[in-house]
Every structure is written in structure tokens, then in C-alpha cells.
């Protein structure tokens, strides 16, 4: 009976001694099993009557209730405090936003379990809930019994996450868990950052399986692997972002088992991602947070990356300057304990290591749940990074590859880092990782260091990133580091970037990364931009959600690559640029970095313009802004969306270049003009 149950609850709550003592079983149970109690529920319903009743019911269940009568308010609440809620209950029919849309947003950005409710019990509506990913559907009027068990969805989700994590070795699950625990990081960053990082990563991890499953009636959450995402992006670019409709995209992609719905929801995410890129405000702090959060756990050690490390890594010569920068920025950026930094670096690495698209560092990384999450971003790297870009990257990658190796060999300076690096390698999550790690560190690195920061920063990051550093080396990689996109980037190119394939996994080199970064110093003086990498962290986070992010990075990376090879700009500049670029694209946060990045990239591009894609980039302002900002927010300065209509690498390049222009004034004193790219010791 409700009353009796309710009473039970009440009595427990009211703690009537006699009662409790008397009802030993109940009391014991209540005391022992605290868990459902205190569950943080966000309930969204435009009907005030229902809202009041639900609130009362949930309170009776001893949950912590927050009520909200508008979907937009709920979404912003969730974004501000990503880890502030355990489960969301939402009505289907709401005036300002469709409940299913809210459901998708939440799924993408926060990956929280969402329960739908409605007075409508029609089969179609319920089915819609299922297909949109609701974990449950309640018919109104809702009874308290139905609410009493909603905690199961929270547990189930966490359990699944961990399971996936373990399976794929990605940090996703871990990230998610970590994410939960590390609200701060996530919440601070732009929503985008985290939004789907965890979710994305998770999805990425289980690409194949989920894909097949989703095509059925089951949750349509297809796992968007790097390749799949690349195909998607290629299709979108081919159609033109404005004209890209799910049906056509589906046709172009020609992937068996993929449904229009899968594409539609992915497209939505992509759009959100792009939008985020263009409108992301820079949150210097966020960078670290967003990315770092998941990674934080793992990155912790990374943060310890010191400039020296980076330098060392850089010195090893493998790390492209850029990567160093990125690394630094990312790693250094996040002074916080959060591992954050490692990510950025890692991302870079991932990018590079994308050579082996499915390089799942995850395996090794598992520990770094975060990383995986991050990584996903990378692998999201759009296919835009077409072969040509990849080729460019390759150049860089090659060198990077070496670096990676080196890095890897360094051994795990930071045990944590490595995992991250590993993650980075993974095409998928890489992006994320990098972002986090790099973002976290990057800013820091740069700031304190000033110019040399980049290099130092990178160095700092490098340690953790080992893998990443390598990336830095490769012109192509650098951009990536920050944003997860970078990571992905490599993934896409998979084959192309020899360097990319840095064995992120071999991350032990993370520490080695730092050294690499260090060498960048030579060039850097202006690497200030590396700071900008941090922003990419956020980017990555955001990217995680959206593969798009990865794309950006990738492009960025690409551009860098091109320039990289040609110029010996490998030095810091490259790093900065590449890193920045990467970051810039994805997050735009690289504000501070962007500038440098842009500058750098410009230099790079011009000099190196080997691949040519660098030039193309001009359009990609976002990168610049990203880089400059130092905040992970991609959008910081990008006048244009990172993803111009054709998100191809060209765009990134142009964006990067543009950013460079924009960023030029950046605080970093990158004096690219004086840079002779050739000097950059790769």
C-alpha cells in the first residue's frame, strides 16, 4: 500500500526511535541501503500541478528533487552542473521544447538516464521514447511506486558504462564514473565540452555492435566509430552542411544496418557540435575541466609534466613543436590534480596514432577512463581529413611517429598519463583525451612560461602525453592535441599519418612527451600559443559529444602537418600552431593559443604548405580562436564556425590560418614572423 510504504519511508525519515527500533528490518534496510536515498533527480514538466505532485512523491522516496517547468531551464541547469544530477524525469509535451528533443540533448551532452512521462500512453509515443534513448517511460498519472525504483536506471547505466569501459578499454565508462565524481571539471567547461564526451566515448567504443543493434528496434544509438564518422562527415561535406539531410547522408554513406534515424540523431549532434564550435565561449578554466574531468583521474600524473619533460620529449626530436605545445598546454594547463592535462596530449597522440584507427589505447588505458572518453572525440575526427590531408599529416606524423615511439619508450612517466596516451592513440576517444589533458595543461603551461611555455608546457604535458608529443611533432598532429578532434584526426588518417600512429598506448612515453615539448622551446618563444591548447580540452569534451569536434582537430592537425613538414617549424611554433590549430578548431578555446596557433600555423602553412591543405584552411577561423583562447571553448573567437560548410580539412586549415591572423595579437608572443619554420627541429 502506498500508505504503508510511504509511512515506511516517512518513519525512516522521521527517525522515530521507537519505530525504527521496532522495525528492525526496515530500519536496518534504510540505514544500510542509503543509496536510493539522496538520488538527485531533476524533474521537468510544464504542468505545475504534476510538478508539485512529482516533487512530493520523489521527496517521499527520499530523493533530492529539483523541479523545473521549462526544458530550456532544465538543460542549462544540467549544463552548469553536469554532475549535479543522477537522473532526469521529463514530460513529453512541453511548450518550449519537445520532451524528446530534451532527451536527446541530455543524452548527447550529459549522458544521464532520462525517464519520459506522459498522459499519452499510445504505443507510438512510448516507442519514440525508446528510440530516442529514454531509459523508461511512465504513464501519467504517475504513482509513487513507479518512482521508487527509478534508481535502477542510474545503477544500470553506470554498470553498463563500466562494462563498456572494460570491454573496450576505453575510459568512457570510467570517465563517466569519474565524470560523476568530478563535477567541477565538467560543469565548468562549456556544456559542449562534456556533453557527450562520455556518451560519445561510450558509443565510440562499441561501434560495431551498437550499430547493428541500433538498427533494430533497440535504442538507436549507433556507435559512431571513427570510420563511420568519417564517412558521415564526408557525406555531409559532399552534400553541403545546409543540404545534408539524413536520408541523403544515409544513402551516401551506404552503410548496411545504419538507419536514417541513426544518421539523423548523429547529424543533430554534429550540428550541435558545430554550433558549439562557433558559439563556444571561451572558458579558460573550462578547458581543463571539460576535458580533464574524465581524464582527470588519469591525468593527474600528467599534470606533473613539467616543462622539462616536454622538452625532453621535444628534444627527442620527435615531437613536433606543436605537439609539445599542445602537450604542455594541456598538461600544464591543468595544474589541477585532474589528470586533465594528459588528455590534451594524448589527444594529440591519438590523432597521430589514428593511423591505426582502432587503436584503442583503451586496452591499456582502461584505467584512464577519462582518456577514452576523450579519445572518442578524436576518432570522431571527420573524414574530412581526407587522404591528402593525411598525407600532410603523415609528414608530420612520421616524425611524430618517431616521437611517439620515443615517448612511449619513455616509459610511463605518469602512469596515468600513459593510459591517457593510450587512449589517445585510440582513434576514438583520443580527441577527448587530448583535450583534457592538453587543455588542462596547456593553459597552465603557457601562462607561467610565457613563450617558452609552449615548449615547456608541452614538455609538461608531454610527459603524460608521451604519445602526444609525438604528435606534436608531426605537424599534423599538433593541432589535434588539444581538441579531441586532433586525436581523431589521426585516426582518420589512420594510414596516412605514420607518425600518428604513435603508440599512444606506448604512452609510457608520456613523459617523453614532455621532453619533446621542450625542444620546441627553441622555436617557441612564441609558443605561447600552447596555452591555447588547453582550450582544446574542452573542445575535446565537446567533441566527444560530437564527433565533429574531432573533425576539427583533425583538420587542424592536417594543416599543421602540411606546414610542418615543409618547415622545420617543427619547433615550438609548429607545436603551438598545430596544437593550437587543433585546439582551435575544436574548441576555439584556445584563445590564447589560438593566436599563437594561428600565427604559427600561418607560418607553418605558408612555409610548409606542403600538403596544401594548410592553405585551404583559411576559412577555419574557429581554429584560431580556439587556439588563441586557451580556453577550451572552441568558439571563442572563431568568427566562422569551425566547421564552415565544408568541414573538410580545408576549412580547418583556413580557419586555422584565419585564426592565426586573429590570434596574432594574442598574448603569446609568438613571433612567427621571425620564425623560420625550418628551424623547428622535428
Amino acid at each position: 500500500m502506498n500508505s504503508s510504504i510511504g509511512k515506511a519511508y516517512m518513519s525512516t525519515a522521521s527517525s522515530s526511535a521507537g519505530r525504527k527500533a521496532g522495525d528492525a528490518a526496515a530500519a536496518a534496510a534504510a540505514a544500510a541501503d542509503q543509496f536510493p536515498a539522496g538520488l538527485r533527480v531533476l524533474v521537468v514538466d510544464d504542468d505545475p500541478t504534476c510538478l508539485m505532485i512529482l516533487e512530493k512523491m520523489l521527496r517521499t522516496c527520499l530523493y533530492e528533487v529539483t523541479k523545473c517547468n521549462r526544458a530550456e531551464t532544465a538543460l542549462s541547469m544540467l549544463r552548469e552542473n553536469k554532475n549535479g544530477f543522477d537522473v532526469v524525469i521529463s514530460d513529453v509535451h512541453m511548450p518550449d521544447m519537445d520532451g524528446f528533443k530534451l532527451l536527446e540533448h541530455i543524452g548527447l551532452e550529459m549522458d544521464l538516464p532520462v525517464i519520459m512521462m506522459s498522459a499519452d500512453d499510445g504505443k507510438h509515443v512510448v516507442m519514440k521514447g525508446v528510440t530516442h534513448g529514454a531509459c523508461d517511460y511512465l504513464i501519467k498519472p504517475v504513482r509513487i511506486e513507479a518512482l521508487k525504483n527509478i534508481w535502477q536506471h542510474v545503477v544500470r547505466k553506470r554498470k553498463n558504462e563500466w562494462k563498456d569501459f572494460e570491454q573496450s578499454g576505453s575510459v568512457e565508462e570510467g570517465d563517466r564514473q569519474l565524470k560523476q565524481s568530478e563535477d567541477a571539471d565538467y560543469s565548468s567547461s562549456a556544456n559542449e565540452g562534456n556533453w557527450k564526451s562520455s556518451k560519445r566515448r561510450k558509443d565510440d567504443e562499441d561501434e560495431t555492435d551498437e550499430r547493428d543493434d541500433t538498427s533494430s528496434l533497440k535504442k538507436p544509438r549507433v556507435v559512431w566509430s571513427v570510420e563511420l564518422h568519417q564517412q558521415f562527415v564526408a557525406a555531409v561535406n559532399q552534400l553541403g552542411i545546409d543540404k545534408a539531410v539524413p536520408k541523403k547522408i544515409l544513402e551516401l554513406m551506404n552503410v548496411p544496418g545504419l538507419t536514417r534515424e541513426n544518421v539523423a540523431s548523429h547529424l543533430q549532434k554534429y550540428r550541435l557540435y558545430l554550433r558549439r564550435l562557433s558559439g563556444v565561449s571561451q572558458h579558460p578554466g573550462n578547458l581543463n575541466n571539460s576535458f580533464m574531468s574524465p581524464q582527470e583521474a588519469t591525468f593527474g600524473p600528467l599534470s606533473s609534466l613539467s616543462g622539462l619533460d616536454l622538452q625532453t620529449l621535444a628534444a627527442t626530436g620527435q615531437l613536433p613543436a606543436q605537439s609539445l605545445v599542445t602537450l604542455q598546454s594541456s598538461g600544464l594547463g591543468r595544474p589541477t590534480g585532474k589528470s586533465g592535462i594528459p588528455m590534451p596530449l594524448i589527444d594529440q597522440r591519438n590523432i597521430f596514432s589514428f593511423e591505426n584507427p582502432k587503436l584503442r589505447f583503451g586496452e591499456g588505458q582502461q584505467q584512464h577512463v577519462n582518456n577514452n572518453k576523450q579519445m572518442n572525440l578524436l576518432h570522431g575526427i571527420p573524414t574530412t581529413m581526407e587522404p591528402k590531408q593525411l598525407a600532410g599529416l603523415h609528414h608530420g606524423a612520421q616524425s611524430m611517429g618517431n616521437m611517439n615511439m620515443q615517448v612511449a619508450s619513455h616509459g610511463s612517466q605518469s602512469s596515468q598519463n600513459n593510459p591517457l596516451l593510450m587512449q589517445m592513440a585510440q582513434p576514438q576517444a583520443r580527441g577527448q583525451m587530448l583535450n583534457d589533458s592538453s587543455l588542462g595543461h596547456a593553459p597552465r603551461l603557457l601562462s607561467p612560461m610565457g613563450q617558452p611555455m609552449l615548449s615547456n608546457g608541452i614538455a609538461a604535458n608531454v610527459p603524460t602525453r608521451n604519445g602526444i608529443q609525438e604528435n606534436i611533432r608531426a605537424p599534423s598532429y599538433n593541432p589535434v592535441p588539444q581538441t579531441s578532434s586532433m586525436l581523431n584526426f589521426p585516426m582518420n588518417h589512420a594510414s596516412e599519418l605514420p607518425g600518428n600512429s604513435y603508440p599512444l598506448g606506448s604512452t609510457p612515453g608520456i613523459s617523453s612527451l614532455t621532453p619533446k615539448v621542450a625542444f620546441r622551446e627553441d622555436v617557441n618563444s612564441d609558443i605561447k600559443g600552447s596555452v591555447g591548447f588547453l582550450p582544446s580540452y574542452d573542445i575535446f569534451n565537446d567533441l566527444d559529444h560530437h564527433k565533429p569536434q574531432n573533425w576539427e582537430l583533425q583538420n587542424v592537425g592536417m594543416t599543421f602537418d602540411a606546414s610542418q613538414h615543409s618547415n622545420s617549424l617543427q619547433g615550438n611554433l609548429n607545436h603551438a600552431q598545430s596544437v593550437l590549430v587543433q585546439q582551435g578548431f575544436s574548441s576555439g578555446q584556445m584563445n590564447g593559443q589560438n593566436r599563437s596557433a594561428t600565427v604559427v600555423s600561418k607560418t607553418m602553412f605558408s612555409s610548409g604548405d606542403s600538403t596544401g591543405h594548410v592553405n585551404a584552411q583559411n576559412g577555419n577561423q574557429p581554429l584560431n580562436s580556439l587556439l588563441v583562447d586557451g580556453t577550451v571553448r572552441v568558439k571563442s573567437e572563431t568568427p566562422t564556425n569551425l566547421y564552415p560548410d565544408d568541414f573538410g580539412q580545408e576549412d580547418l586549415m583556413s580557419a586555422l590560418l584565419k585564426q592565426q591572423d586573429v590570434i596574432a595579437p594574442a598574448e603569446h608572443e609568438f613571433d612567427f614572423d621571425g620564425y623560420s619554420l625550418d628551424n623547428i627541429p622535428v
Binding site: 504542468d47 508539485m52 505532485i53 512530493k56 514530460d91 509535451h93 498522459a119 498519472p141 509513487i144
Partner: protein, 150 residues
């Protein structure tokens, strides 16, 4: 002691609300939620319902004045109204809402108008009865445990 007759009267009122079909199980759910922390919970919810639904009724009236009817809009309003009514256990009002929606879906303008009139009638009746009920309840003091109608 004086309260006994009042309490008795209250109980009779309550029972009749159920017997006459104005209220259903859901109302009891609300009563069961009432506790020391919220001693007037049910009354508060019902008051909130009438306040909010009055707005919807007004919207619907306005929508029914226009010609031709915007059935989608009407259906939307009624969906909301029905949801609220259901949540407090307003049985008859809920039934009329359902009927109205059916007319809406079939595009039966006349049916809609008739159903709406009927709905307003039931709504008014319920409102009066519940107001009287809660007024008495306040005078009577805390309600006894909610019990299901025989």
C-alpha cells in the same frame, strides 16, 4: 467533540466525491503523500490545479471562438488539461477531456463545443465540492489516514 460531527461530515463528503465519480484513486495517492511536513498538501495541489487549469479553460474558450477551429491547438490545450486533471484524480473531468479530444481528432467541431460545455460543467461542480470539502477539512483539523472508499 464538536469535531466529531464535523469529522463525520467530512468523511461523508469525501465518500460522496468518490461515489459520485468525481474523484478516483489518484486523489487517494495525493492524500497518502500528505504528511507532517506538508499537512495541507492535497489542498495545495488542488488549489494549484484549479488556478492553472483556469488558464487552460480560458485558452480553450478563446480557441473555440475562432472559426474554423484549430483542432491541433485545441487538442494540445486539452492534452495539458487532461494531464493535470488526471494527476489530481478528477475522474469526470478527465472523462470529458478524453471525449473532447476524440472530437478534436475527428474534426467534429460541434462535438467539440458540446463536449467542452459538458466539461466546464463538471469542472465547475468539482471545484465547488472540493472547495467546500477543504474548507471543512481545515476546520476539522488534520485528516485521518486516507482510506479507500468502500
Amino acid at each position: 467533540m464538536e469535531r466529531n460531527p464535523m469529522r463525520r461530515q467530512l468523511a461523508i463528503m469525501r465518500k460522496s466525491l468518490f461515489d459520485q465519480g468525481h474523484l478516483d484513486e489518484q486523489f487517494i495517492e495525493l492524500e497518502e503523500l500528505q504528511d507532517d511536513a506538508n499537512p495541507n498538501f492535497v489542498e495545495e495541489v488542488v488549489a494549484l490545479y484549479f488556478r492553472d487549469s483556469a488558464r487552460l479553460i480560458l485558452n480553450m474558450e478563446q480557441a473555440l471562438e475562432g472559426k474554423p477551429f484549430d483542432f491541433n491547438k485545441l487538442d494540445g490545450y486539452m492534452h495539458q488539461f487532461k494531464g493535470s486533471s488526471t494527476s489530481i484524480g478528477a475522474k469526470k473531468v478527465k472523462a470529458e477531456s478524453t471525449l473532447f479530444r476524440e472530437y478534436c481528432r475527428s474534426g467534429n467541431a460541434e462535438g467539440c463545443v458540446r463536449a467542452f460545455q459538458q466539461l466546464k460543467k463538471e469542472y465547475g461542480t468539482l471545484r465547488k465540492k472540493l472547495e467546500a470539502y477543504f474548507q471543512l477539512a481545515r476546520q476539522t483539523g488534520p485528516m485521518e489516514t486516507a482510506s479507500r472508499p468502500k
